[in-house]
């Protein structure tokens, strides 16, 4: 109570800047005069009486200091004084302060921005309640090396009823769907799921209801749930949307509910978020009858029963897969070794981007480390430059603690200002990154700078300050007072520490540069990679033919109806002025392929343990001409390759090489899928490999099929999305309305979307690599810059310290070349050690990057030679400046200075 009151009094005095000095002076004066009078009364002469009084009063300064300390709050006063002093110092050497603050800001800004992405994508738990019991279920045939294969309805029922480890299991299938009835047909991202999908994810509606048991049906239930985004954009957020009927792929559906804004389908958003959810039992049209061997379902999600661990569930599923294989040997060929695997949902979703994010994290860690080393070096250099000042301070009575505190204040001030600047920078960097990050990275919409990241950044800035502040402070707080005051040079200890810091900084920078070099080289190789066709002057546009569940609503039910549409559209597109030639393809090159099928080859006995698989690509006549993809043998598809005529196929060079290595594939017959009813197709041509699945995917066999012939590899699998490709000199924007008009004039309900050039499609397929390569490359450049600043700073400091010695040497006859050599030598030795250490470190860690490289070995000799050479050149340039300056030392001046 009393001490609180005392504190408050002192605080008031402090705040009001109340000074006790006048009062003390007055009291002291009174005291002294009273004592003097008493002394005179005791018989002393007046002068002596005054002298004795002063003696008896004691050391005035010490008392005033005590009094002053009691008056206010000395701790805070000192702090403010230190802060003022630090600010004055920084304003006197703004270069140092700016470099240090900029470096801290860069370190913190980069960490925060990248950490925000990593946090949202990798670390933060999924936005579903109890995400730990959510799993993704995979069906694999490890014997034939096919993984994540599709599954059938009876297999789904086994998971639900027989496995006993799941509370719920749900299927989901993603696709796009045409929404008609508005001003313009729209193409929406859709998910078809089991009725228990939302209850499995524990989602709640924003308005209306979600699917539940009343929606259980064999086929599609006539109800639909829409996203918050679609509700606001297309239905203006109108709550009366509930009960309204919309047409999706011509089928009527009733809107029963709207999801809240935060809900997302657990999957990768390839370009757009899912906007409509349908529900189906997947057991009636358009799906095939549910037999065990009819595997058309793509994705399964499960929620484990409470108390069941992942390992227990996996054991049970492995056992169940074994039972099923024995019970239904016909449906599970023994060579496939069919099995079921579960993975935590989060891991399954993030899987592919993990290596990239880890490399980015590693790069950031290295940059932060380099920044830290650089700042430590800077502060250390300043500390040794200020030994004289510290010596004077201790000589004047400053305690060691006081000096340490002042140095700490300075470095903390630096890191706070740097931290604040870094957070501002992070905000900008994050915005930039979100523009650069390919949209295929999952959960990007959840990326924001959140408070954990902010806290982490602040903590980082604080720790930086403490760490770097402490080392120089302790180093400088035990100076040899006499030596320091006289200005003699300190011992070698500090210099050796700084050498070590610079060497490790150089090594880190080399590691980063080699990593960046490997990624950039990969990117360059990929850009130069021949895609197998000529992408320039090709405009692509996507069209989606509806696929209603009700066959009577399907205007494209038969292959004849489809053929009529394709022919008419091709005729009209070829008539567009400026279009040289137009063709259609089911999936554009480099965008990947959703399906692959077993390949049956006539007359070839199937060997056990080997399953031939190919990806089908459905194309129209002239496709290879539009793409300028060279036909190696045989012929291309013709207008006559239609239903009713001989089923034909064209294979790519990879397929031809793999299956007919020493024979002519022309005239051979192949069959897609395991359905015995699937037709045999005669190979009529061989085309050069086209990078169908991405520039960095090689050697996947493809079979091209005429768009006029029925695709019957598997029941339930139809191709109704397609892209038009036109060879034209017109830009995509000019062509877009013309294509739209031609499509609408045939069928006004068909949306046209993703109108773009083929070059942009190629670029888009490299977006993820481009992003990581540029980011790491940028970091590498930054590291190079920081490392050269580091070595420059060290040598400049050495030159400053040794200017007297240099002057002496010159006075004794050393030439400028000798001096240049003397200083350069140190720079070269340090750089050499750093580069060698960095190369060794890179060589031993580069294999971690292997999955991100394409066509470049992790220990690519070119990168491992060029980077150190470049590094050497830059480091020597950085050393040359202080060395050159050393030669300008005026011996007379340098000697007189001391």
């Amino acid at each position: 109570m009393r001490s609180l009151r005392r504190f408050l009094e002192r605080l008031t005095n402090f705040v009001w800047k109340r000074r006790g000095d006048p009062r003390l002076r007055e009291e002291m004066e009174d005291h002294l005069s009273l004592q003097t009078e008493d002394n005179i009364r005791a018989g002393m002469p007046p002068a002596e009486a005054r002298r004795q009084a002063v003696l008896k009063f004691g050391a005035v300064e010490a008392i005033r200091e005590d009094y002053h300390a009691e008056q206010g709050l000395p701790f805070i006063e000192n702090l403010l004084q230190d802060l003022r002093y630090a600010m004055r110092l920084f304003s006197r050497s703004p270069g140092f302060a700016a470099v240090a603050i900029a470096m801290i800001a860069l370190g913190i800004g980069a960490t925060t921005a990248i950490f925000s992405v990593v946090d949202a994508v990798l670390l933060r738990s999924l936005a579903y309640p109890e995400p730990e019991s959510l799993v993704k279920i995979f069906f694999n045939n490890p014997g034939t090396e096919s993984y994540a294969v599709r599954f059938s309805v009876p297999e789904l029922e086994d998971l639900r009823n027989r496995a006993g480890v799941f509370e719920q299991v749900s299927v989901s299938a993603r696709g796009s769907i045409d929404l008609t009835g508005g001003s313009q047909p729209e193409r929406l991202e859709a998910v078809a799921a089991s009725p228990n999908y939302f209850s499995l994810l524990r989602a709640n509606p924003q308005i209306g209801r979600l699917f539940d048991s009343q929606d259980v049906a064999l086929g599609y239930a006539p109800v639909v749930v829409i996203s918050d985004g679609l509700w606001r954009s297309t239905f203006a957020g109108d709550p009366r949307v509930l009960g309204r009927t919309i047409h999706l792929d011509n089928d009527p559906y009733t809107i029963v509910g709207v999801l809240p804004p935060g809900f997302r389908h657990p999957g990768r958003a390839s370009s757009q978020d899912v906007e409509v959810w349908q529900t189906s039992g997947f057991s009636a049209a358009p799906d095939p009858p549910p037999t065990r061997g009819t595997r058309s379902l793509p994705q399964a999600w499960g929620r484990l029963k409470p108390g069941v661990t992942l390992a227990q569930a996996q054991d049970r599923l492995t056992a169940m897969a074994g039972e099923l294989r024995r019970e239904y040997p016909k449906d599970y060929p023994s060579e496939g070794k069919w099995t079921i695997e579960i993975r935590p949902l989060q891991e399954a979703l993030v899987g592919d981007v993990r290596p990239m994010l880890l490399v980015l994290q590693g790069a950031v860690a290295l940059i932060v480390f380099i920044v830290a080393l650089n700042i430590a070096n800077l502060l250390l250099a300043r500390a040794s430059g200020r030994q004289h000042e510290m010596a004077v301070r201790s000589a004047l009575g400053a305690s060691r603690g006081r000096i340490v505190r002042q140095m700490l204040t300075e470095s903390l001030l630096l890191s706070f200002v740097g931290g604040a600047a870094g957070i501002a920078l992070a905000e900008g960097a994050l915005r930039l990154m979100l523009r650069l990050i390919p949209p295929t990275v999952p959960r990007l919409s959840e990326v924001t700078i959140d408070w954990t990241v902010l806290l982490l950044a602040l903590l980082a800035s604080l720790l930086t300050g403490l760490l770097f502040g402490l080392a120089p402070a302790l180093h400088s707080s035990k100076p040899d007072i006499r030596g320091g005051v006289r200005g003699s040079v300190s011992g070698a200890g500090g210099t050796r520490l700084r050498d070590a810091l610079v060497v490790s900084e150089l090594a880190m920078a080399v590691v980063l540069m080699i990593g960046g070099g490997l990624l950039l080289r990969t990117l360059r190789d990929l850009i130069r990679e021949n895609p197998g066709f000529n992408p320039s002057q090709v405009v692509a546009a996507s069209v989606n033919l509806p696929y209603p569940t009700n066959p009577s609503l399907d205007p494209y039910l038969t292959i004849a109806q489809q053929t009529a549409f394709y022919r008419e559209l091709r005729r009209r597109m070829n008539a567009i002025p400026g279009v040289e030639l137009a063709a259609f393809v089911s999936d554009l090159p480099t965008t990947g392929q959703p399906f692959n099928f077993a390949l049956g080859i006539e007359g070839r006995p199937s060997k056990s343990g080997e399953e031939l698989r190919v990806e089908p690509v459905i194309v129209s006549p002239d496709y290879f001409r539009v793409m300028q993809a060279p036909l190696l043998r045989g012929r291309s598809f013709a207008e006559d390759d239609r239903d009713g005529n001989l089923p034909v196929a064209i294979v790519d060079a990879s397929t031809a090489r793999r299956y007919w290595p020493d024979r002519d594939p022309l005239g051979r017959r192949v069959r897609l899928g395991q359905d015995p009813a699937s037709s045999w197709r005669t190979i009529v041509g061989v085309v050069r490999d086209i990078k169908q699945d991405g520039l960095d995917v090689d050697g996947v066999p493809h079979v091209y099929i005429s768009i006029y012939q029925k695709f019957d590899a598997q029941q339930g699998v139809v191709f109704r999305d397609f892209s038009t490709v036109s060879r034209t000199s017109l830009p995509a924007g000019v062509l877009e309305p013309q294509i739209r008009r031609q499509v609408e004039s045939i069928d006004p309900r068909l949306p046209v979307y993703n109108v773009t050039t083929m070059n942009e499609v190629l670029e888009g397929s490299l977006a993820s690599r481009r992003f990581s390569a540029r980011l790491v490359g940028g970091f590498a450049g930054l590291a190079l810059l920081l490392a050269s600043i580091g070595i420059y700073g060290l040598l400049a400091y050495v030159v400053g310290q040794r200017s007297r010695e240099i002057g002496l040497r010159m006075a004794l006859g050393a030439t400028r070349a000798d001096i240049l050599k003397l200083i350069l030598h140190k720079g070269i030795v340090l750089t050499a050690i750093g580069v060698v250490a960095g190369v060794i470190l890179s060589a031993s860690t580069a294999s971690m990057m292997a999955s991100l490289l394409y066509g470049v070995r992790p220990r690519d000799p070119a990168v491992f030679l060029v980077v150190p050479a470049l590094f050497f050149a830059v480091a020597i340039m950085a050393s040359y400046i202080p060395a050159w300056r050393a030669t300008k030392v005026d011996p007379m001046l340098a000697l007189r200075e001391s």
Binding site: R2, R6, E9, E27, M28, G58, E70
Partner: protein, 115 residues
Amino acid sequence: MKKRTEVQQGTLGLMVLKTLDVLGPLHGYGMARRIEQISKDLLAVNQGTLYPVLLKLEHEGSITSEWGASENNRRARFYRLTRAGLKQMQAETHDWEQTAAIIARFFEVRAEDLT
């Protein structure tokens, strides 16, 4: 070194309170003289150390001060005990007496008393 000053400062504070309690309002010099007289050598030198102690006691609310006229009609700052100060002095006096009594008993103890 430091420890001894602290003990002295503590005791000095209590002496100030006791002096004011016995003699009523006093100025700094008067207090210093009384304390010197009674304690003999404490405050024979370094009388000035009294003033930071007075400020501290005032901050704690144990004493108050105001300007007044001294015996020879000079302006001087007079210190007066507050009620909180009185209570504090009584409590501290009690503590001191207790401590002193305990220490005294230990000093009286001889080896044979403990067998």
